[in-house]
Amino acid sequence: MDITTFIIAAVIKIALVVFIMLTGVAYTTWLERKLIGRIQNRWGPTRVGPFGLLQPLADGIKFILKEDLLPDYVHKGLFILAPMLALIMSLISIAVIPFGETITIAGHTTALQISGIIQAGGGISDINIGLLIILGVTSIGVYGVALAGWSSNSKYSLLGSLRASAQMISYELALGLSLVGILLLSGSLSLREIVQTQIQGSVDHPWLGFLPHWYIFPQIIGFFIYLLAAYAETNRIPFDMPEAETELVAGYHTEYSSMKFAMFFMAEYVNMFTVACLATLLFFGGWHGPQLAFLPPLLQSLLPVGYFALKVFFFIFLYIWIRGTLPRFRYDQLMAFGWKFLLPLAIANIIVTSLIVAWRA
């Protein structure tokens, strides 16, 4: 593949993925309001379009048209930089996530992943530290929240951002350690290779003879640690201390309005998607699912993407479901839970997994 085709393919892929991602984000807000509405025995949005389906569009127009306030005595540069940083960092991590195998359009074969390229031999070359890149980018994303609160020059914002930074730093440890079990089992940091080992394992030696070789089964403890830590990382209920509206108005984005507020909002939802994608890839076999041989070839090549999207949707649904079900933790409970329960559990999980891996080898 020469450099021009590569760049054209990459630009198309980036545009497409960003478009789908942001549309997904917009409709997740709709889904969230609808589902929370049903859970709380009310309707949710119904006025704009059928079933309120145009509500995200109306919200978007409203965000753009609202006045963009810049409060007095803020640290101007950082105040503007913070929401951009949060959104950009959340979007970057999508670049390393693989959505499926390959797709061939008009004679050009390309990997279903922004950073994946087809090698000369026909194999797909993935960035071989994909998981670390996601962890690194997430850890840079903390700056967005921290700087937003500090530069706003408001007590609520500062408290919110202090909470958020402390929470994200604490739970990043448990999050990272919960994934080590997967790395031990798969022997790779490349997301594509982790999925391949699961698909290959399902063919060679399924769990108990019939279950797919997904890592959720041996790593069920790791999965729960990951899920809880990821909820805390994305500042979602029941760990939404940074924006606890009953205590802090809106936490770190209290002073933000218009598109700057929308950027934080979008960053939060894109992060939800990243977490869901990662859970799908690492624990649920990625795009692995039953092959349907009776479908036409093009649909068959898109079927894995469908499975992937379905699994991601399940996690998004879980997010919303939990938001509608659980109350918020107290701040000290959150810290104690992270450091005294999740972290030791994650370490124990690593020790047991590595002992088993060493014993089997």
């Binding site: 640290h75 950082l78 960035i127 071989n128 530290i129 670390l132 890149i133 962890l135 690194g136 980018v137 997430t138 850890s139 840079i140 903390v142 700056y143 921290a146 700087l147 609160g149 500090w150 500062l158 951002s161 202090l162 930074s165 402390a166 730093i169 990043e172 940091l189």
Partner: protein
């Protein structure tokens, strides 16, 4: 070609960040400049093919240590620093020193550019996670473990010192 352009770009960003770190009067701006330096260093590692080191550089330095720096600056609410006149010793010794150093390095680069040669990367798996793991846990296991014990002692010392007040 692309590598060289990228190296120059990130090298310039790195140096600019380092100079900005010294020039800024507000501690948070300095801390953020340091983040820029670390991130561009990581990208230079990436250009060298050391992917794992690059990722660790971002996660550990830019993502963890600098976040704590920024956190502390925010907590203490450190304000702008006053600018002093600067010391006379630095002016008398420093400026000629910088000129001499720059002149020497420049002269060496200009005269010796033919003899510098090139570096070849020893193995194909250079910079990969497996290769680094093999070095750390096989060839250099003892120094690695001793270092980790040292860090543990440092952490425990910090906890003890921090608790002494109450």
């Amino acid at each position: 070609m692309v590598h060289q352009v990228l190296f120059i770009v990130f090298g310039l960003i790195c140096v600019a960040g380092a100079i900005n770190l010294l020039l800024q009067r507000h501690p948070i701006n300095s801390a953020l400049s340091l983040v820029v330096v670390m991130a561009s260093l990581a990208l230079i590692y990436l250009l060298l093919g050391a992917e794992f080191v690059a990722a660790i550089q971002v996660i550990v330095y830019a993502g963890a240590i600098m976040v704590l720096f920024v956190f502390v600056i925010m907590l203490l609410n450190a304000g702008e620093e006053e600018r002093t006149r600067g010391s006379r010793v630095a002016l008398i010794l420093g400026v000629p020193g910088v000129i001499i150093l720059a002149a020497t390095v420049g002269w060496l680069l200009v005269t010796g550019s033919g003899q510098l040669g090139s570096v070849t990367i020893a193995s194909s798996d250079f910079g990969e996670t497996h290769a680094i793991a093999r070095l750390l846990f096989k060839d250099f296991l003892l120094p690695f473990e001793i270092t980790s014990v040292l860090i543990l002692i440092a952490i425990m010392g910090a906890v003890v010192l921090g608790k002494r007040e109450s």
